[in-house]
Amino acid sequence: MRREIPLLLTAVIGGIMIASFFVPHEWASVPADYLQQCAVIVVAFGYVLGGANVFRVNLDAIFKRHRDWPYKLVLVAGLLVTLILGLFVDRARFQDPGTPSLWIYDHLYVPMNATMFALLAFFIASAAFRAFRIRSAEAALLAVAALIVMLGRVPAGDAMLRAIVDHAGVPHAIRAWRISDLQQWIMDVPQNAAKRAILIGAAMGVMATGLRVILGIERAYLGGGD
């Protein structure tokens, strides 16, 4: 029963959600609306659980003196300070200007969040030099498309082409070419065609998986054990 009842619940709830899409009557829309409200609340609890798990795992690592445990002390301290300020000091006004919670958000969370992702720019340049290898015709096609899009999407692409064309004394008809127009065509036609094929294929896959989950064929989300 520990697996069967949740499976039955999933099937019933999933069925109501799908029915509400096709049936505008309140017999379908009101239960669906209620279930979505429930999902919003349970998902919020899920985020709290995630934070609690981070706390538990790292506290455990500190007590067992795992590698890098002093840094985990920093992690736990950061978590507790943010939590205490937000839940007990600033409370519901934690996002108001002038509060310690907003100070932490503005001067700790924002800079670190942004910088973590900014590092990727350096790694993408390094990978472009060391890993982007054209070993086949298909890879060459990928590279050419990438180069045209990269150059066509920034002002320097057209400026560079203009400089080359103007200096070489090229016929007037060719002078009108712009790399940005070629980039736009690539995005509108070949890129669009392939992406749409991927979208359609992925949609069928998601639909199949959704139905498998609702019908109880796919049960991995229940986890192991009984």
Partner: protein, 278 residues
Amino acid sequence: MALERLERLDRRWLFLVLGLLVLGPLLWPLNLPIEPSRPSRQFNDAIASLPEGCTVLMSCDYDPASRPELVPMTKTALRQLWRKHCKVVVTVLWNGGPAIVDQTIEETADEFRARGEKLVDGVDYVNLGYKAGNEAVMVLMGQGIKSTFPLDQHRHDTSTLPILRNVTNYSSFPLLVNISAGYPGTKEWVQQVNSRFHLPMISGCTAVSVPEYYPYLQAGQLRGLLAGMAGAAEYEQLQGERGLATHGMDAQSLAHLFVALCILLGNVVLWSRRGGRA
């Protein structure tokens, strides 16, 4: 010999060159001309064609990591809407986003206040704040905005706010302006709201998401699309502004040229090695 050294090049030199190429134009701008693309014009035109004084839904689904790409387009969109005296209802579906979105709204509103134009929170705009639940929130809003968001970002009861007096669900809005960094974002709004409730929408998104949204643009599910920082700069250009996105495009240009050069050089090394072996 030179190619051998290139092959063994420490990647930190590449980091340094990229850093300098990005830093340089930020200090000494090149002022390269920006030509707005068709999707950016469509985004601009979709807002321009709105009736004056209407109420628009804007969903800002991003966090601080996407600030350079998305905050400039958020500000420009708010300015364009407020110049048309449109009222703006803002939602945030990303965990890390509500405070930065709120700051963006207030900074833009302060520009209007500094010119003597009155913009009142709760009357001309409202930030409904964050709600967990992704797609569930989107569909819930289709039944009732105020029941989904009983309080706004600043803990005001939404049932008492003048801006929401005549707002019930999506039928109250002529347009959804979605500024998104990923999941949940434009794709989910198209699937759950545009398809189900037929609310017209336009999107400004991070560049990495753009190729995925082009089919929606071509299908008419999106009426306009701003592609990353370049799209934000083009939108600023169309609105006669010169903001952070425009300021960043010179650096973007040099960085792109550098990455293109890295690809070419890396393959020159590869081909020369193959040629040497042959």
